[in-house]
């Protein structure tokens, strides 16, 4: 309603001026819609989508890309057809819209600008606010007893923490083989030969990301750069970490690797 409630001007000149401004805004909106469609398509094709959301819901991004192209394409078509005419954005029923403004257009362009200018990277060691050595602390359902049925060498960091949650006696895990990947995370109070192999878990998107990690004992820890992705092989041994009884990975090998295509674990 507001969108159409343009003040009636006496001067034809003002009217022309308003009209041109309106068309510029409509073109800007069209460009943003198509740009957002391209941005979604790019994320899908490049695989960057996995830096942001749980791929279980990846199909929603296809929907979004299609709808952005539909709205943008329609908007462009309408503008091209009405060239030269005074095709006013006419009253749409009783819908309440605030008058379009450049500020509003700029705000909606923000994700496009940030998405294009800032290189896409998954959350890493820098984003760890607090790290959980406990799967329960990360909104993870721990109810499944099935964790024990996964072969130890096939367990990822999250599976291991679930096993920890179901274990009363860490001694029962002694000598089980460990084969995990994650990024290196260290804090000053860790032992000189200790680091954590950390992962982020996400349920829906990175907004609900939680850092989890397994403590690792490795003599050459000092040589590992914070945040670097590593492949850790070793055995589980009962012990203490930061003063708490737990089990630690005693590593036989720690190998620096490329970040995996899918950086997060989905609980």
């Amino acid at each position: 309603m507001v969108a159409a409630a343009k003040p009636i001007h006496d001067h034809e000149h003002d009217h022309e001026h308003d009209h041109a401004r309106e068309r510029r805004m409509a073109w800007a909106k069209t460009a943003i819609l198509i740009g957002l469609g391209l941005y979604f398509a790019y994320n899908i094709i490049s695989g960057n989508l996995s830096n942001y959301i749980n791929l279980r819901f990846g199909w929603l991004s296809y929907v979004a890309a299609a709808l952005f192209f539909l709205l943008g394409g329609f908007s462009a078509y309408t503008l091209l057809r009405s060239r030269g005419e005074h095709a006013h954005d006419h009253e749409h029923g009783d819908h309440l819209h605030s008058a379009p403004s450049w500020g509003m257009i700029a705000v909606v362009a923000a994700p496009l600008v940030l998405g294009t200018l800032v290189p896409s990277r998954p959350l890493g060691a820098e984003a760890v606010g607090g790290i959980a050595l406990n799967a329960a602390a990360s909104q993870v359902s721990t109810g499944s007893v099935t964790m024990f049925t996964i072969n130890p060498e096939n367990r990822n960091v999250l599976d291991w923490l679930r096993v920890f949650n179901q274990t009363d006696d860490y001694g029962t895990l002694n000598n089980q083989p460990v084969d995990i990947i994650g990024f290196v995370y260290r804090e000053p109070d860790f032992g000189a030969d200790q680091f954590m192999t950390a992962r982020f878990t996400i349920s829906c998107c990175v907004a609900d990301a939680n850092a989890i990690g397994l403590p690792v004992v490795w003599a050459d820890t000092a040589s590992l750069p914070q945040g670097e992705w590593v492949h850790v092989r070793g055995t589980m041994q009962e012990g203490e970490f930061r003063g708490e009884p737990t089990a630690l990975v005693h590593a036989n090998s720690v190998e620096i690797i490329e970040a995996p295509q899918n950086p997060y674990l989905y609980p």
Binding site: S98, S101, M104, S203, A207
Partner: protein, 352 residues
């Protein structure tokens, strides 16, 4: 409807939020020992995460709202309303499933329904419930939280609160006490005098509801146009809201957030105020709330997900165009108190 006041207020509120955001970010970067470039990267990742997950739902919501606007006439809704006032009030809570509208779309629909003779109480319940009780929000909440206590709680609490408030209006309110004179003038006279809606059904002076249905092509064109406008209109609230949420997660130390978010009462109040100020559309607010699940109490998350869709800056300004100021106050205070109480009760009694 005053076109000027809302946009001035909104612009002011938006500007204040942006300034707050920028100030907080600058302060955080200056005082933090972490690398500013890395912080910007984390902030961007979190912000785009919410946006990428939410955008499809914002689009679907906008499209649904455009289609309703083009093809559904208030007659259709009025015809489906049961005659019994109590039953109608309960039915009002579920009408959103047939007419999915978020809080931006619901007020004009309700106003038009009143001119068709819809009982005040039914309109109030529909007004409060529809932004949550609809298929788009059902799916987005499911995507964000899965099937579980949050999804069920959000729907059940919304229905309870909306029906309670609707029933209060059913007992206590007459149209002339509730509606603004401008809206009242559009009502059939018998109804204003307290006659039953049935008696007036035939007497209603057609305003524009009896306009012929739009042909498919023209209707679709209008729907797409409306959807585009809606997307930009609602998109900015989503974008500013998710920037704020991402900024809080990135720049505010986790301990500080936990301190703010762990009190059983204060956490609920904080999330209610946040929901009110951010005015994020109900189709996507579930994704925004994810940013707080690690640091805030379950009751406060629930209050955010139930109070926000009923009342925020945006809807408050729209209420003011239809209802008398005293009623607008009730429509803010009653949902506020009820969701506050329920949120506190959840924090004290339920472990999710």
């Amino acid at each position: 409807m005053t076109a000027e006041t809302p946009s001035v207020f909104r612009r002011f509120a938006l500007l204040a939020l942006i300034l707050l955001l920028a100030a907080a970010a600058i302060l955080a970067v200056l005082t933090s020992s972490r690398d500013p470039a890395a912080l910007l990267n984390i902030f961007t990742t979190r912000f785009l995460g919410i946006f990428l997950e939410a955008a499809p739902f914002l689009l679907l919501g906008a499209l649904a709202s455009g289609l309703i606007d083009a093809f559904i006439r208030p007659d259709d809704i009025a015809r489906l309303t049961p005659r019994n006032p109590a039953l109608a009030t309960v039915a009002g809570a579920f009408m959103g499933f047939i007419f999915p509208v978020c809080e931006c779309g619901v007020v004009p629909v309700v106003r038009r329904l009143y001119t068709k003779g819809l009982p005040i109480s039914v309109g109030v319940t529909f007004l409060l419930a529809a932004p949550v009780i609809n298929p788009v929000v059902l799916v987005s909440t499911y995507v964000a939280y899965g099937f579980g206590p949050v999804l069920i709680g959000r729907f059940v609490i919304t229905i309870i609160v909306a029906v309670i408030i609707g029933l209060i209006f059913a007992i206590a309110a007459r149209p002339r006490d509730v509606l603004r004179p401008a809206t009242l003038e559009m009502l059939p006279q018998l109804l204003v005098a307290g006659g039953s809606p049935e008696a007036t059904e035939a007497d209603i002076i057609p305003v524009y509801e009896h306009a012929p249905r739009k042909p498919l092509g023209a209707g679709l064109r209008d729907a797409l146009g409306t959807a585009t406008n809606d997307f930009f209109d609602m998109g900015r609230y989503l974008i500013i809201g998710s920037m704020l949420a991402a900024a809080m997660q990135t720049f505010v130390p986790q301990e500080a957030l936990t301190a703010l978010g762990s009190g059983p009462v204060t956490s609920v109040l904080v999330m209610q105020v946040l929901a009110f100020l951010l005015s994020v559309c109900s189709t996507v607010d579930a994704f925004l709330s994810l940013a707080f699940v690690n640091t805030f109490t379950p009751g406060s998350i629930m209050a955010f997900l139930t109070f926000g869709p009923m009342v925020d800056i945006k809807s408050m300004l729209m209420f003011a165009g239809v209802f008398k100021p005293r009623v607008v106050a009730y429509l803010i205070i009653l949902p506020f108190l009820l969701t506050l109480l329920i949120g506190i009760w959840i924090n004290l009694n339920v472990s999710l």
